[in-house]
């Protein structure tokens, strides 16, 4: 089975046409039912009706925060200021590579979602903020945008409905923090991608100080399916609080890494062992991070739970972006945590002291433990710094940096102690 896998145990709504190169262009996409939802929305639904069906579907933001998408749209004020939809395609949460695949294989799926969402919130301009490193993906997306303009799905009087929409692809330039929605807005405005203090929320004052909705790629790509088939149809998958399907990007020590789409009541252990094939031959699973590096680490024996927002929370972690990182017994946990913390230290925008200083100190202490120069007091010190980083800053990057530190100490303290006391590593080479 070649990548991208089409495993029969998946439920493929968004990923149904991954791997079909004919689905990338507009003709192939229309042949596969593309732009039908747009016709339906513009032809027979009011913007509020579109918002209502998305609200009823229970679709939650797939970028990491899990905020209900329809509810977010309903916060847009109904005045006559210009308003914007901004698609967050700045996918950069370590372990996550799903939006990339949506845009690579089905760029029109995303565009259709963008156009419908813009109609629902009455936006006049949609910006797709895509990370600059996605060079090959950007080319595909650009081609799709040009096609959509050519066919009249973008521009003036779309499908004769009287709805006008401009769409612009905006290239990021390398900054994880631009994935935070207000950091993204600053970046779009030609500033450093420093997150803003909320409130005001983007719906009140977003891009260019105007009402703005920011949605993730996967969220927007889900919208056409919901509009076309209805809220009840979407709710046949997942749980009451976590309806629908979700893409999981699976990486690390797995036999079949890649993207898998499953209903949100799917079992995490099945995802790791059945779909991804578990760890490489002869290896034991050590730990799993289910939702990108910003969510708590789970021990191998804690993953018998469902992958819903509430299921993972009950199991002590979070769904986050759905970036699953698997680690087998060859992993040095101290090193893995150090790598993740160094990432946050590099990506901290520097506005808030606790984050700017805290991330660097965490990394420094972890490096010394890894080298065998740690002290017993370093463990409480790491926890103390982490406690001072969580919940005290403008955005959650600081919290995210503390998460792997705290969760790994709670679950793998013996690995830290092996480095500190015995100057050894518990990783099986």
């Amino acid at each position: 089975m070649a990548y991208p896998y089409a495993d029969p145990r998946e439920t493929r709504l968004l990923s149904k046409h991954f791997g079909e190169s004919e689905a990338i262009g507009i003709d192939g996409w229309i042949q596969r039912g593309g732009y039908k939802a747009l016709q339906q929305a513009l032809g027979s639904m009011s913007p509020d009706e579109v918002t209502a069906v998305v609200k009823e579907s229970g679709l939650r933001g797939r970028g990491g925060a899990g905020f209900p998408a329809g509810l977010k749209w309903s916060f847009m004020p109904k005045d006559d200021r210009p308003r914007y939809l901004v698609c967050n395609a700045d996918e950069s949460e370590p372990g996550t590579f799903k939006d990339r695949e949506i845009m690579r294989w089905t760029p029109h799926q995303l565009l259709e979602g963008c156009i419908i969402a813009s109609y629902a919130i009455r936006a006049e301009h949609c910006y797709i903020y895509i990370r600059g490193e996605f060079v090959d993906i950007v080319r595909i997306l650009n081609g799709a945008v040009a096609e959509a303009y050519q066919r009249g799905y973008l521009g003036r009087n779309i499908l004769g409905s009287g709805f006008d929409l401009q769409l612009t692809v905006h290239l990021g330039a390398g900054a994880y923090i631009a994935g935070e929605e207000t950091g993204l807005l600053n970046s779009l405005e030609g500033r450093r991608a420093e997150p803003r203090i909320k409130p005001p929320f983007p719906a009140q004052r977003g891009a260019f100080d105007m009402p703005t909705t920011v949605n993730n790629v996967e969220t927007l790509a889900s919208v056409p399916h919901i509009v076309l088939n209805g809220a009840d149809w979407y709710r046949q998958w997942g749980t009451e609080k976590s309806p629908g399907t979700k893409l999981f990007s699976c990486c690390g020590h797995l036999q079949r890494p890649g993207n898998y789409e499953v209903p949100l009541d799917f079992n995490l252990s099945d995802l790791v062992y059945s779909l991804c094939g578990g760890p490489p031959e002869g290896r034991q699973l050590l730990a799993v991070i289910p939702g990108g590096s910003s969510v708590p680490i789970m021990k191998a024996d804690e993953i018998d739970c469902d992958v819903s927002y509430e299921g993972l929370e009950a199991a002590g972690s979070m769904l986050g972006s759905g970036g699953l990182i698997a680690m087998d017994d060859s992993t040095c946990m101290v090193r893995a945590v150090r790598k993740m913390v160094e990432f946050y230290a590099h990506e901290s925008c520097g506005q808030c002291t606790n984050c700017r200083e805290g991330t660097v100190w965490l990394a420094k202490i972890l490096r010394r433990i890894e080298r065998g120069e740690g002290r017993e007091e370093d463990i409480p010190l790491l926890l103390d710094i982490s406690a001072n980083m969580a919940g005290r800053t403008i955005c959650p990057l600081s919290d995210s940096a503390a998460v792997p530190v705290v969760s790994s100490i709670r679950k793998f303290e013996h690995e830290y102690l092996a480095h500190i006391r015995d100057k050894t590593c518990t990783a099986v080479r």
């Binding site: 990548y3 210009p82 996918e91 950069s92 949460e93 370590p94 372990g95 996550t96 590579f97 990339r100 895509i130 600059g132 490193e133 996605f134 060079v135 090959d136 950007v138 080319r139 997306l141 650009n142 945008v145 040009a146 303009y149 973008l154 401009q166 769409l167 612009t168 692809v169 905006h170 290239l171 990021g172 330039a173 390398g174 900054a175 994880y176 779009l188 405005e189 030609g190 500033r191 450093r192 991608a193 260019f208 990007s249 699976c250 990486c251 690390g252 020590h253 890494p257 890649g258 993207n259 990182i325 680690m327 992993t331 090193r335 893995a336 790598k339 993740m340 990432f343 590099h346 925008c349």
Partner: protein
């Protein structure tokens, strides 16, 4: 280029050229057209800063103080402001780079699967240290944070090309493909 380029995507062109000229005029001909198209997509000039810096770097290879001053003039911003923005983003370089900028992802996904070995091999093969320009001006090897392709480690990006599943033994072949 300019005929086919829709204004909606004028500001989202990945750097297309390996050949750079630090002395080249900024934004003439096709590039001027692209510049104007970019400006037409935003309610103010400042918002064009990232796409315009990207284009300037494509033409000149890096963002020198002179380049930054020129971009500032064109967008009615101060050079200090433009520099503060340019230095925030990792894809903008305020120093010269090799013809091939080899970015190796050392994020957690790639690190777990042996990215360090790929970096070592690249440094050995190019005779450089991290961030240096090789003596022949051809290569700069840098470690970068997660490139968002964690299922295909190690991910290496060279200018506007992406290589996936790179192992240390693939390094020589990869370098051979660049010339």
């Amino acid at each position: 280029m300019s005929d086919a380029l829709h204004p909606a995507v004028a500001g989202a062109q990945p750097s297309q050229r390996a050949e750079k000229n630090p002395e080249a005029p900024l934004f003439e001909g096709d590039y001027r057209e692209r510049f104007d198209k970019i400006l037409s997509r935003y309610p103010n000039r400042q918002a064009a800063l990232l796409p315009v810096l990207n284009m300037a770097q494509e033409i000149r290879g890096w963002l020198s103080p002179q380049t930054i001053t020129r971009v500032a003039e064109l967008l009615e911003l101060t050079p200090a402001y433009v520099r503060s923005v340019a230095s925030f983003y990792t894809m903008f370089s305020t120093r010269p780079l090799g013809k091939h900028v080899i970015q190796v992802c050392t994020g957690i996904g790639c690190d777990l699967c042996g990215a360090e070995g790929v970096v070592d091999k690249l440094l050995e093969a190019t005779g450089t240290r991290i961030g240096e320009v090789s003596k022949d001006g051809k290569y700069t090897v840098v470690e970068v944070e997660c490139l968002g392709a964690c299922g295909f480690p190690t991910v290496v990006q060279v200018n506007d090309r992406v290589f996936e599943n790179v192992k240390p033994e693939d390094v020589e072949g990869l370098l051979g493909e660049l010339d």
